[in-house]
């Protein structure tokens, strides 16, 4: 089946893997995706055939048995034979459908012998990816919507991958069985990439499993598919499948960056650097709720906020630990000390909050350690 599938999928895999006005499911690039597609088409065609037969009878009757044509009504009203027939025949058709459905389902559930484990955690409203079974510096990062607010609010031209693009995509090696461990930090999300036919709910406190083996390099896009709050429509999934060597190089670069980041935490940074980095962190982590100008929205306003203008350690406590019972998350586990210092500096100096305070990574580490 594998060979036939790859022939089929070539036609569908445009560089953007988006087709305008697509009307059918995509078979995707994986073997399971193709199996599901075939199952979908099989059931659909069975329904189409039954539908044509049933409606043909009905339309014939509506044409031929009209009162206006003088047709006299017959008075028959039961027949055990036909009742038995149209109970038994559909039942047999259902059994014929259940056989391939069962075998495909068993395949989907075969999570064994994965070569790479990735923990996916859903947050309101972003995904976190952690590569688990690699030795050395751990690699973990958040993947946020990259589409600018100007495109969403129609003041800028919308790009080709509008709402389906992220700042840091998930990178997978091709031809490798990858197991996803899927969970959530707050509410239920659902991680879906149609082209690789993986959809699993991300449930806080529980870990679900799913797997894939992507045979072809490419960019595959998906979205969160479980209502998870206001910005449910704005947490896309972007997967880059690359060759094994390319993947290894990417992984090495990621580790290097992580090491550099921990070096940075030891240093004293320039105010401008902190403000630039702080704006980047703010835009990806805070903006959705607190507004592009700190004007507030789902969350309180940052501009002129008593918390932000007040004592640094209580400001950091709110950012790091969140506010229970509200949508304010605990960002302590999400932001590095450098990012935390930068975003605190930014919040205390942007939007007219001209406190002049500069928070260094060392200060953050200091407050953390009491």
């Amino acid at each position: 089946m594998g060979k036939r599938v790859s022939g089929l999928t070539l036609a569908f895999l445009s560089p953007l893997s988006v087709a305008q006005n697509q009307v059918n499911m995509s078979p995707g690039v994986t073997e399971i995706g193709a199996d599901i597609f075939e199952l979908h088409m099989l059931i659909m065609w069975i329904c189409v055939v039954i539908g044509i037969a049933v409606f043909a009878v009905m339309f014939y009757s509506m044409y031929a048995h009209r009162k206006s044509k003088g047709h006299q009504a017959a008075q028959f009203h039961e027949s055990t034979k036909v009742e038995v027939a149209w109970t038994v025949v559909p039942f047999l058709i259902l059994i014929a459908m259940a056989v391939p459905a069962t075998s495909t389902l068993l395949e989907v559930y075969d999570n064994d012998e994965a070569e790479l484990d990735i923990l996916i955690t859903g947050y309101q409203w972003k995904w976190k990816y952690e590569y688990l079974d690699e030795s050395g510096e751990p690699v973990a990062f958040f993947s946020n919507l990259a589409t600018p607010q100007e495109e969403i609010y129609n003041t800028a031209h919308k790009g080709d991958n509008y709402l389906l693009e992220v700042d840091e995509p998930l990178v997978l090696p091709t031809n490798t069985k990858v197991r996803f461990l899927i969970t959530a930090n707050d509410v239920i999300h659902s991680w879906w990439v149609p082209e690789i036919a993986v959809k699993r709910d991300a449930i806080p406190g529980f870990i679900n499993e799913a797997w894939t083996r992507v045979p072809e390099e490419g960019i595959y896009r998906g979205q969160c598919t479980e209502l998870c709050g206001a910005y449910h429509g704005f947490m896309p999934v972007e997967v880059h499948a690359v060759s094994r060597p390319e993947f290894d190089a990417w992984m090495a670069a990621k580790r290097g960056a992580a090491a550099a980041e921990s070096q940075l935490a030891m240093q004293t940074l320039a105010v401008d650097d902190l403000m630039d980095k702080g704006k980047a962190v703010y835009d990806s982590a805070c903006l959705a709720c607190h507004g592009a100008q700190g004007e507030g929205g789902i969350g309180n306003a940052i501009a002129g906020s008593a918390v932000v203008l007040g004592d640094l350690s209580s400001h950091m406590a709110v950012v790091a630990k969140g506010v229970s019972g509200t949508a304010m998350q605990a960002f302590g586990g999400q932001l590095s000390d450098v990012d935390m210092a930068a975003v605190l500096t930014y919040q205390r100096n942007a939007f007219g909050n001209n406190t002049g305070d500069v928070v260094q990574p060392g200060d953050v580490t200091g407050i953390k350690n009491g």
Partner: protein, 526 residues
């Protein structure tokens, strides 16, 4: 005994204190139509925002309030009360009873509804906004992460549940105790049968829904952790409880619709219903199966494979009794003498579109394929084919069919047919393209979407505006009929209509069957 032949009281007290099944049925029908317009207005807001990609009219949070209230108002405010109204009007007249068995409770079960919906609608004006977690209100989005208005939502759901339970007890008591002599169970019109079974479903599952919202209330205000893993609970438990209610709920909505269609198709085919007994058994089988398929809404939550397989097989089985019903309706039409007045047109529309919705339902039952369909617009298209083209079309057919009997005046047939065609076309322009965008990967409940979905969404919005506008024509036609329709006085308004309700004078007097009627012949014969 009942020796006072009196008409209705005067003024507002007629409606406030009435125990008359016809008055209460009328109030239910008007109330549900008002809710239908309100829920429809929310749908128009949704479709207007989705007309083009990008955010134009509303904020994402408000969009979620609209989808939530649209679902809640349509399911609990429009469809369910409309069929209860129909049951009130028709069940006593169909079984030859003078009224419902528990008339005072009947009054109460209606009058608690308007305050409940007033409270639900008032959440729109509360701080933090209305519920924004979808009509399925999955925890913890609906508990820890919900706006404070969720408490009012919980209270409203409790009241609706109480109303439904009282209404169902009343229907069960009426059907079991108040049938005219000779009206055996297997002679009852199919509408009465489907409602009897529906009433048992309601009594069985509304307390489960009440349990779910009570557990939410406890989690929110009293520190329990039913649905929070942090305290030893489980968010998926919520889904199991919700869908144990929710799946029978969809049959609660559709079974009375089956009953309506089973009354109207024979009337305009001038031929008895084919396979009466098998219709009764099929209805009962569907009701039974509805209790053991709930987790097919949850294929992606990570159930063990044995669970997935069980729920897949059980769900597929529903196709058998549903198929039997469709085959029976078509056999009823076969070699009849068909005419196509408005009620028949809506029933044929029902038959075609409900069957399409049944096919997509069968596709959705296939668990591995559902991994690609789940929570996409394919599901949205599916359930609107069964809820709107199923329940709402059949309800509309019912109004056109029985309205002349209720008010003694005939509706405008040309306007009725126009309403049908605009509805039918508008409905399909709205929902057929949603199959496409769903299969192409558009998730449901999103306020903005990727560019490749733009054309079909615009089409869908245009269709929705057409369909929405056609309901105003319906309203106009009904009001014009009541006020100034052409009077009809034949007891049998339709020459092919069968049943006791067509033996009383037209318009139906305030009190009917104070003396039990003679039940002449078994249903299913002429």
């Amino acid at each position: 005994m009942g020796d006072h032949h009196h008409g209705p009281a005067q003024g507002i007290s007629r409606w406030l204190f009435t125990t008359n099944h016809k008055d209460i049925g009328t109030m239910y029908l008007w109330f549900s139509f008002a809710m239908f317009l309100l829920g429809g207005f929310f749908a128009m807001v949704i479709r207007a925002e989705l007309f083009q990609p990008g955010m134009q009219l509303v904020e994402p949070g408000f969009f979620n309030q609209m989808t939530t209230l649209h679902g809640l108002v349509m399911v609990f405010g429009a469809i369910m009360p409309s069929f209860v109204g129909l049951a009130n009007w028709l069940i006593p007249m169909m079984i030859g009873a003078p009224d419902m068995a528990l008339p005072r409770m009947n009054n109460w079960s209606f009058w608690i509804l308007p305050p409940a919906f007033l409270m639900l609608a008032s959440t729109l004006f509360m701080e933090g906004g209305a519920p924004a977690f979808g009509w399925t209100f999955y925890a913890p989005l609906s508990t820890t992460y919900a706006a404070p208005s969720v408490t009012f939502f919980i209270f409203a759901i409790h009241i609706l549940g109480v109303s439904s339970i009282m209404g169902s007890i009343n229907i069960i008591a009426t059907v079991m105790n108040m049938r005219a002599p000779g009206m055996t169970y297997m002679k009852m019109p199919l509408f009465v049968w489907t409602w009897l079974i529906t009433a048992f479903l309601l009594v069985a599952v509304m307390p489960v829904l009440a349990g779910a919202v009570t557990m939410m209330l406890m989690d929110i205000h009293f520190g329990t952790s039913f649905f929070s893993a942090a305290g030893g609970g489980d968010p998926v438990l919520f889904q199991h409880i919700f869908w144990f209610f929710g799946h029978p709920e969809v049959y609660i909505i559709i079974l009375p619709a089956f009953g309506v269609v089973s009354q109207i198709i024979p009337a305009f085919s001038r031929k008895p219903l084919f396979g009466y007994a098998s219709m009764v058994y099929a209805t009962a089988s569907i009701a039974f199966l509805s209790f053991i398929v709930w987790a097919h809404h949850m294929y992606t939550v990570g159930m063990p494979i044995a669970g997935e397989l069980f729920f897949m097989y059980a769900t597929m089985l529903i196709a058998v009794p549903t198929g039997v019903k469709v085959f029976n309706w078509i056999s009823t039409m076969w070699r009849g003498a068909l005419s196509f007045e408005t009620p028949m047109l809506f029933c044929i529309g029902f038959l075609i579109l409900f069957t399409l919705g049944g096919f997509t339902g069968l596709m959705l039952s296939i668990a591995p394929a559902d991994f690609q369909y789940h929570d996409t617009y394919f599901v949205v298209a599916h359930f609107h084919y069964v809820m709107v083209a199923g329940a709402v079309f059949s309800m509309t057919a019912a109004v056109y069919y029985w309205l002349p009997k209720w008010c003694g005046r005939m509706y405008n047939e040309a306007m009725g047919k126009t309403h049908f065609w605009i509805s039918f076309i508008g409905f399909n322009i709205t929902f057929f393209p949603q199959h496409f965008v769903g299969l192409a990967g558009m998730p449901r409940r999103i306020p903005d979407y990727a560019l490749q979905f733009a054309d079909f969404n615009m089409m869908s919005s245009i269709g929705a505006f057409i369909y929405g506008a056609s309901q105003l024509l319906f309203l106009y036609n009904v009001v014009a009929t009541i006020v100034a329709g052409k009077p009809v006085s034949d007891e049998k308004v339709w020459d092919g209509a069968e049943g006791l309700e067509w033996t009383v004078p037209t318009p139906a007097p305030y009190h009917t069957f104070e003396e039990p009627p003679l039940v002449p012949k078994p249903a299913g014969t002429i």
